[in-house]
Point group: C2
Chain length 171, copies 2
């Protein structure tokens, strides 16, 4: 495949091509992403993104749900992990580092009191931790550099660690 | 079903039971949520939560991906929409409001330059908007009150709008 490097199976030419295009057409960098969520009764809902199959959402039984799918705060952790996986794959490929195995354990602490109406404080995560298990053909120094690069460029990581203006309007 | 109200099919007894339990055992409110992400080659990965089927992740072709699933920043929008859906269902049920239809359109603005290594700034969303389409048996004043309640108690909404300490470590 002419557009796929031998390393990590990543189509780094597409990434480089996009970066080159943005240098001459900066407006290409300003992207917009979308999703549509439909309520399905009780605490079930599903999300649609582009033309992909809908992804279900539910709450555990202890929270009044039907326990049929990951809940929204678990989905948030998944999004962070998936984003870090892309970051490692992309930056390792640029650095010529072959990844043998990569997995990421994520956990977050959340006080339910505000969600349940027992407090009027932060309903969200007070802290999130990601532990990266990376087996790759590189020195410790190279891995540390790769790690720093991934953390410094992670769209979901930055979204979570920074305050984002979130506008929620009733149409 | 003794534990399911007639309204919105929500098991509000389970939610009320949890709230009552937290009043006498405050430590029950301190929850921890988890996910594990496994890299599958290129920009593909999958996330596992509890015993549910893994959910795939990929990037669009323009970003070097295989275009087989929603990407992490789209998953983040989905998590917000699913969280708001739970919030509406829960709070409408408590208020005795029957929901006929509920869908939520989400969009977010993201400058790709930091992710692509062309800048050293915010790689994440600069802004997120959710537009809620709610058809429910309630007055406009009741809907406005419901909306305010949902926004004030949304775990994912608060996580996104507040800076969260995110620790990412290489094991």
């Amino acid at each position: 495949m002419g557009t796929t490097t031998a390393v990590n199976d990543v189509n780094i030419a597409a990434v480089a091509g996009l970066a080159a295009k943005i240098k001459t057409e900066p407006e290409v960098a300003a992207t917009q992403w979308k999703a549509t969520v439909t309520w399905k009764g009780a605490f079930r809902s599903e999300s649609r993104v582009r033309d992909f199959a809908p992804v279900p959402s539910d709450e555990p039984a202890g929270l009044g749900g039907g326990d049929t799918a990951a809940n929204p705060v678990e989905q948030l952790l998944s999004a962070l992990g998936n984003c870090l996986a892309v970051g490692y794959a992309a930056n390792a490929t640029v650095a010529g580092i072959e990844i043998n195995d990569l997995s990421i354990d994520l956990e977050g602490d959340l006080d339910l009191r505000t969600f349940l109406g027992l407090a009027d404080d932060n309903a969200g995560y007070s802290g999130i931790r990601a532990t990266v298990h990376l087996d790759a053909e590189a020195t410790e120094a190279q891995l540390a550099e790769l790690h720093a690069k991934v953390i410094g460029t992670s769209p979901v990581g930055h979204t979570l660690s920074r305050p984002v203006p979130v506008e929620i309007t009733l149409a």
